[in-house]
Amino acid sequence: MFALRENRMTIVAGALCLGAFLLFVGLAIVALLAQTGGTDGSTLFDAYIWRVTRFTLLQATLSTLLSILFAMPVARALARRPRFFGRIWLLRLMALPLGLPVLVGALGLIEIWGRQGFLNSGLRLLGLQQPVSIYGLFGILLAHVFFNMPLAARLFLAGLERIPAEYWRSAANLGMPSHALFRFIEWPVLRGLMPGAAGLVFMLCATSFTLVLTLGGGPAASTIEVAIYQALRFDFDPPRAIALSGLQIAMTGILLLILRRLATEPQEGMTGGRTMRRFDGSTWAARLTDGAWIALALLFLGAPLVAIVVSGLEADLLKLVRDGNVHRALVTSAAIALASALASVTMAATMIRAAKTVVSPRQTGPAARGFAGAIGASTSLILLVPPVVLGAGWFLLLRPFGDVARFAPVIVVAINALMALPFVHRILAPAMATHAARSDRLTASLGIRGFHRLRWIDLPALRKPLLMALSFAMALSLGDLGAVALFGSQDMVTLPWLLYSRMGSYRTADAAGLALFLGLLCLIFTILGTADDNRRPEGRKA
């Protein structure tokens, strides 16, 4: 009885979240479409759009493949080496690129890979005349791997760390060799996570805009997002912008469906919850490969970040530290990030629980599957709706209620929260599924429900993924510029906005200094995200 009522409440809460979410997006689109003017009657799908679509698909597919292929061995190496000096800092480092405005990341990459970068200077010293050129498809892929490989690696690592300790014990007893371990234990986990991770990376790369233009070498490298931006900005043609977003969603939606076919339903193994200990990877060959992958990842990610720090240190940091505008921007950015992240995590957790409850074996009908499917799809595809479309739509909706700037914080937080959903969903959903498989029956049979269950069963077990999701969502919203840009400036200056503003008026050194601050703030968030990794398991021998 009680359990049923609780199930119903869970589902209602999830439905409400989904409804609010769809309403938020739908209303914005309707408002924009209702806006008269714009459309000059030119056909939507001309040769230009097809070319742009083709390129979007090409670069996003390649970027995704490379990111995933790089992320897997890195994640495996990190999972096999649970203890080494600086491991936790490498994990924190991996959440950092997401929190940087893309332009900052791009300039960091250029310091290493650019024409005058570290690599080419080195090659020239060796007497090589043909420097590596970052401008073109290579640069786009490089930058996308820089931003997305760490994300995928963290997702995979989290999955590998959820493998029940019993598996490793049995495998060790059976004396399974390394390739068998990979095939029977690690690969099924990675394969299960692949569609989610690859889909997310694909969407991030497909909607990439500044990176693609800046590093692309010319307009042959343009994404649909460029056309959307152009439609809404220069041409002020909202219907065209929305139609193009639709194209983007349809294209990626099909791809996500294909990816899902490849997925296998993960097998949740029971576990006594003992601390995981792996018995493999002690051979010299394994140590060497793991070490090489970890070093490669560290170098690849670390070098541009070091470049950003070095440029930042050249700025007049004391002046920036004392600058009232910087203080306000720091507080604003941190507040927006925290609010968006909490909203996003709460919403994602509610919807995941609801979807899980509704498709529980006993009551799965087409409606239930549709509901769960809608939650899955909408939390993914939201990334493809440009924030500027949402922002412009809500601007129109709120116009009748007085000064729109007053609502800016709410809208910006809401948009950032929505944009973080796909990340949060991919971190939480697998963890919550594992947790549910391990604890649902037991808690139900013991009659632990509601708040008690949340406090004593769910939160302790989900602490790590929750913190990770929070920190990713915060980092993401920290680096965001899209949503803020529309609502004007002096009302709400965020750190990236301030950075771009300094950069736009020749103050490059200031901008570099601000990038350093932004990086530090982001690092603080990621330290929070890995807070649980340092805790020693209580009452058990490690």
Binding site: G217, G218, V410, Y500
Partner: protein, 342 residues
């Protein structure tokens, strides 16, 4: 729902954290308020905004209230989004290429002021928009890495392809559109062929000025598309003559920044007064070293020495705004076709 109340709570926090400026503005309100929409860099702490407001408030017994958006193009988008309900009395920061489109919205009223003191190269005059500063687009180069800069657009197009330039995208930025029109004005129907040739020299095409200038100052390319006034910033603020603009013999394309008053202005008289003030010596003296553009009328004191060292184009190009509005799409398509060829 717990999450929506959480959302509310935290957004209020965010609001409180960021709203201090807004409240500070309204608290000191005098009897009349003039609302000026402008681009963001106009009102940053080093921009002309604060000084302009202070000087104007002395003459008008009013309060100047700025609303800043990203840039000139965003300004027009914002107006279209706000429609008739816009609170703007003055819109300051559109450029000549946007004038026709801005007029077509029907939001602007003729200024009706005497603008006799204004001199802009290429003779621009309009019954709705009043110029307040201008700059010429120019190729800015790094004297340490480029000893012989191109002396004409033709030399830029046909020169050594290993000497790269970073340009901006005409689909997303004003300087990008400026270069497109510059090439069009010089080459006419041959513009497509010129772009196809210039393509090999273009290192990359960035979405905006900041990215391009960032790449340039990082040393990635010895040239960038910017303004004749860019070197003035480096000379005055950074005390270096390293970055210079190249004078092109055909002439340079001009960007004239203008302001206009809205049809629904709540304070039309005040708006008119502001436009007149804008062309006066007080306002014009503030512009050069804060907005890094050239004044359109007499200043109180002679300009800083750095401005005398700048390139002064002998010939100025400016295509009529209506023509730009009509052909922009076709010209961008031409540009895309030429630049996308392999």
């Amino acid at each position: 729902m717990s999450n929506s109340s959480q959302l509310k709570l935290f957004s209020r926090l965010a609001l409180a954290a960021s709203a201090s400026l807004v409240f500070a503005g309204t608290a000191a309100a005098a009897d009349k308020t003039l609302t000026v929409y402008t681009y963001e860099s106009f009102i940053t702490e080093w921009g002309p905004g604060a000084k302009v407001a202070e000087a104007f408030e002395k003459t008008c017994e009013c309060k100047v209230n700025y609303v800043g958006v990203a840039d000139g193009v965003e300004l027009l988008t914002r107006l279209k989004l706000e429609g008739e309900a816009s609170k703007a009395d003055i819109v300051l920061g559109l450029d000549t290429n946007l004038v026709a489109e801005a007029k077509a919205t029907g939001f602007f009223a003729p200024h009706g002021i005497e603008a006799a003191g204004i001199t802009v190269p290429g003779s621009f005059s309009d019954d709705t928009f009043v110029p307040y500063d201008y700059g010429h687009f120019a190729v800015v180069y790094d004297t340490e890495t480029l000893k012989t800069p191109p002396k004409s657009l033709k030399e830029l197009v046909e020169g050594d392809a290993s000497q790269k330039i970073v340009i901006e995208d005409p689909r997303t930025s004003t300087p990008g559109l400026g270069l497109l029109l510059w090439v069009k004005a010089v080459y006419g129907d041959e513009a497509g062929a010129a772009w196809a040739k210039l393509k090999d020299r273009v290192l990359t095409v960035t979405p905006g000025w900041s990215e391009a200038y960032g790449l340039f100052t990082k040393g990635e390319a010895p040239m960038v598309l910017s303004y004749t006034t860019s070197p003035a910033y480096h000379m005055v603020a950074e005390n270096t003559e390293r970055y210079q603009a190249a004078a092109f013999s055909e002439g340079h394309y001009i960007q004239i920044e203008v302001a206009g008053m809205t049809k629904n202005a709540k304070e039309p008289e005040l708006a008119k007064q502001f436009l007149t003030f804008m062309t006066g010596a007080e306002f014009q003296s503030i512009i050069p070293t804060t907005n890094w553009m050239m004044p359109v009328a007499a200043t109180k004191e002679p300009l800083p020495d750095a401005f005398n060292k700048l390139v002064k184009p002998e010939n100025t190009f400016l295509l009529p705004s209506e023509e730009v509005a009509k052909n922009r799409k076709a010209w961008i398509d031409e540009w895309l076709a030429a630049m996308s060829k392999n």
